[in-house]
Amino acid sequence: MKVDLPHGYWNPKIELMPRNELMQLQLRRLKQVIRYAWEMCPFYRDLMKRHGITPGDILTLEDFFKKFPVTRRDDLDKDQLDHPPYGTRLALPLHRALRYHTTSGTTGKPPVKAFDTERDWIWGGNAWATSLYNFGVRPNDVVMIAFGYGSFIGFWGAHYGFEKIGCKVLPTGGMDTKRRIQMILDLGITVLCCTPSYALRMLHVANEEGLELATGSRLNMIVVAGEPGASIASTRDLIERGFNAHLGDFMGTTETAGMTASSCSMLCGGLHINEDRFLTEVVDPSTLEPVGYGARGMMVVTPLVKEAMPLIRYATNDIVVLDKSNVCPCGRVFDLFRGGILGRYDDMVKVRGVQLTPQMVEEIVRCFPEVEEFFTTVEERDGLDTLCIKVELRADVEPRLVEQISVKIKERAKAELGLTPVVPVQPSGSLPRFELKARRFKDLRLKR
């Protein structure tokens, strides 16, 4: 049941301040972060010494962008392998840590382990609360969080963010999809929080069970995070129409343990960056030079307060485009990421000269509501690199239409990607399902 989202500011003093004052605020906080890391964090003190810099060398944001080296995922992995189990980024003794969590492990690498102090953890929850409030969540909302509540940070921060606002929160870890859907219908849930993949899964199961989420529920907001689905137009459309609710995209990383950017109630298509909490850059992934507004680049992020495990200039591999704040009519000073996370540089593959990301395939496949699930591989067949999109169609699709749909997907891919895939239709229930991050893309050529 879609109603207009309420408009308001969590912290108008900061969200409406002039841009030059925001940058001064960022610089003050950044200097504190660097001083703290120098004094308390062996990982960053060693890094700064190796690069011949001290906190006193960083006097402006430009100094920081020019002089301070980036930290990559491989650096964190190596540090934790060399100094198990938590590495040398720990800035405080372990007894000060409140919360342990890990990255999801879906990249195939060992998960990065992270600790937060109580203050870090509340900060992360507050970053979520800010974003949720600015999207339109209010104390009278009834929220379902559809997530397993394991060691992956997932939606833990969202849980505390919703509680901070004063919502009624229903955690549903370990519950099956049918039961979750019934709860939505029975308990007047107004906000659903999950990954985009799981939102689609709920729609499929509801359809199979003959349950009407679009007309039978009080859902007004779908809060998604964890993967780029909401930035893919066809996926977004499917979710919004299927639930008849507003879809909000929320992006963050486990390593920063906070909500970096999110949709506001104006739903302009971009995600406001929480620039009082995070210093973000968009750079060329090879040269690390800033690409400026309007161009694709890699997000580099520095959380502006982290006690337990500082993180400075973290190169995320996320592909983003930066827009100026005035693109959105809300009036916030915060710049935006246009469309959210558009993909990942480390997911990109080349197939017969075409640069391909999983999101590009999803954009095509989700234009066909008959597709229930899909899985893409890049394979070598008869000596040629071949894109193979396995699809599973909904149970109610008439058999005489199956071949037609496969052909249409093939034609659309050819038109939009410049590649003609093979599109074999799979038996019902044969492809993997996902509650958290979906991994629907595999380059099998690497397995030689």
Binding site: G8, N11, P12, I14, R28, R96, E118, I122, W123, D276
Partner: protein, 69 residues
């Protein structure tokens, strides 16, 4: 009604005072007081941080990053 953007000076002072009270009570012998006040203190710290009241010129100067998590 125009949305209020900032605290006035008196309210800022009250926030800082409340923090200092909670900070003191976070050291109390009684667990019920110590643990609840520690949590409340760290929650209140968020407001001070988000409102940018922790710098040297503000009423909460000296409570900045990590003096007492």
């Amino acid at each position: 009604m125009e949305e209020k953007r900032c605290l006035n000076r008196a309210d800022e002072q009250e926030l800082a005072t409340a923090y200092k009270i909670l900070q003191k009570l976070s050291e109390h012998d009684l667990p019920v007081v110590r643990f609840n006040c520690r949590k409340a203190k760290n929650e209140l710290w968020q407001a001070l941080f988000e409102l940018d009241l922790l710098d040297e010129s503000g009423p909460a100067a000296g409570l900045g990053l990590l003096t007492d998590g």
